[in-house]
Amino acid sequence: MRSADLHIGGVKSEAIEVARNRLMVPAFLFVLGFGILALRLVSIGIFEDISDQVIYGQSAQTEIVRERVDILDRNGVVLATNLSAPSLAARPRLITDPEETADRIVAVLPDLNRTRVVNKLKSSRHFLYIRRNLSPTQVWNINALGYPGLILEHAEKRIYPQGRLASHVLGYVDVDNKPQAGVEKFFNDHLSNTVRSNEPLYLSMDIRVQHIVRQELALAMNKFSAKGGAGIVMDVNSGEILAMTSLPDFDGNGSLHPQSSEMKNRNILEPYEMGSGFKAFTIAMALDSGTVKLSDEFDATKPLKIGGRTIHDDHAKERILSVPEIFTYSSNIGSSLIMREVGIDHQKEYLQKFGLFDKPVIELTGLSRSLLPARWEEIQSMTVSYGHGIAVTPLHMVTGVAAMVNGGRLIPATLIRQDSGSESERYDISSDISGFAQDEDYPQVISVETSQRMRHLMRLAVEYGSGGRADVEGYRVGGKTGTAEKVVNGKYSREDKITSFIGVFPMDSPKYVVFAMLDEPVGIEETAYKATGGWVAAPVVGRIIEKIGPLLGILPKDNVKTKYQNLILVEKN
């Protein structure tokens, strides 16, 4: 070829020249095209390399079972989860031998009625359901039958592996997985979000503590033939609820009757008159407002007659009592007299500050307001001072007492696990008072000094007073009993009582509030046929603390000295 080229000239060479020039155009286009491709390649390689992975990552994040997010306890134990539970459906037109098919289906699902299945399979409809929510084994067996006319449709079922244990906190869902109560309802936005199906909801509950509380309450309920019970364990420094139980309870997995009494959470739904437990608020406000000193004495020798009514003492000492004695021996007369000193305005102000006038704060639905006296005059203010004529929910009580002992900060109760920080260390009572940082996040209800005094008073009430049966060796339990007569047909009933005990431990550096309440207990021989808070509810709290103390890592201590012992007179024996 090359040798021939040399001899080309004239017209031929011109034609070749033209051809060469024309070739330049496609050559240029090729270069341009490949240049663009190369540039694009570089830009993809450098700038867009993640986009594909993002899509991949997302596709892996969404679960097969994803309609509702799991609920876990603070240690990661499953409280509620969604499991795949396909529904069995059929296309009757594809079934050739309905009788035989029905026989086989009934063999796998024995609880089905054979006649009904046959009728369904013989019907002329296109598509119908035979059974909802099959278990994995049943799914396998149905697939093994190999009938093309049978269809397994994807469906999910909410499962509560712990059964009744935390039913009132968790709530439940209906057949269509729509939440009806509890955490399920409150956090529905998160729980029903399919994109967040990988982020389980961690509750503040501890399933072990919950079990202990429920078991002890159930035992006491059985022993005293009580109608119901309620129990709460709360962390005083973070407001986390470790256990909340209300008896009788229900099983979220079973068939539910939304109107029955077992569905109501007594801790938040029903206000009760708390009785003497309320005296803690009375003493706290008296000390904090400065109207009463610890060493002040009040005359409790005779029942107090006021406005045509008489206030008696249940454990009458019939002598002059100091303030710690009024609290320890639970004197109604004494607390009424203290309230007279404090005044109605102060009383209302402090009860408001303790959050007793509002709905309790927690992540649950169906919270109940307190029942306050319609008229609030001297006699009402006196009965309120020892917990009659005012009804609050147990959660009100627990939140208020937690504020009373934790340094005076009203911390709202929460069911969500908080990040464990240095919170508890910052408020260690063993450090000096000046070590207390005033926390801006939470309202200061009473001063730190009053809070410290209340700790000692509550310890005294257990050491020398009616709460003695709640004492646990080593754990410095403090608390206050409460016994209130129930209102039946507008009158206070002598027999039907609400007994409660609100306990705090360890008292030298409070960590947990433990509350137990029993509805209408009946005295038995062992308790000398008495059904008061000291006999019924205090031992429950004692046994709960005995078990959860080691579990929660509270270090037992001996010989922790309680202050103000010199203000208390006790019987020598």
Partner: protein, 187 residues
Amino acid sequence: MIKVVVSFFVLMVMISAGTVYSLKETTTRLEARKHKLSAQILKDRAAIKVLRAEMAYLSQPERLQKLSARFLALAPAGWAQMAGAVNAISVREEGGADQRKLVSFPVDEFPLLLPRKKPKFNVAKYDRSIMRASYKSDGPVHRSENSVYRSEGLGKEKQKIITHIRAPKTKKLNFYDRISLKIEENE
């Protein structure tokens, strides 16, 4: 020259086409494998969910408690078993194994009643008068010294006693010998 260049380019084009094709092929295969894997992961996760639920169901505290009561000799941890630091446990030097006092020990198969001092009438016990709580010698909480050491000590002492009795058993002690032995040990 052009021939060489052209053939080179043709070769390059063929090689690069081949590479691109094989790359695409590999990518498709990898893609398919990835989809399979991620589907498998999802399936496994669903299975793990079932297993987790089952584990939670099987480890219900109530069920575990029943099983433990039936099959294990474990009791709930008590307050006396909790210690704040290692130093709080190892106090052998001061406590001393031989300084521990014996609470009781089995002398023989039958219980033995030893003559005791007649209880004195304690006036304070029946005194119902009122006093300040802070003067009370000890409150209702501080019931006992550390019960751990006591039970620990008991085991060792018991063994010692048993060997002590076993040794002369060859000549069979009579009743009074045994009593005197016990009194001796008790001192």
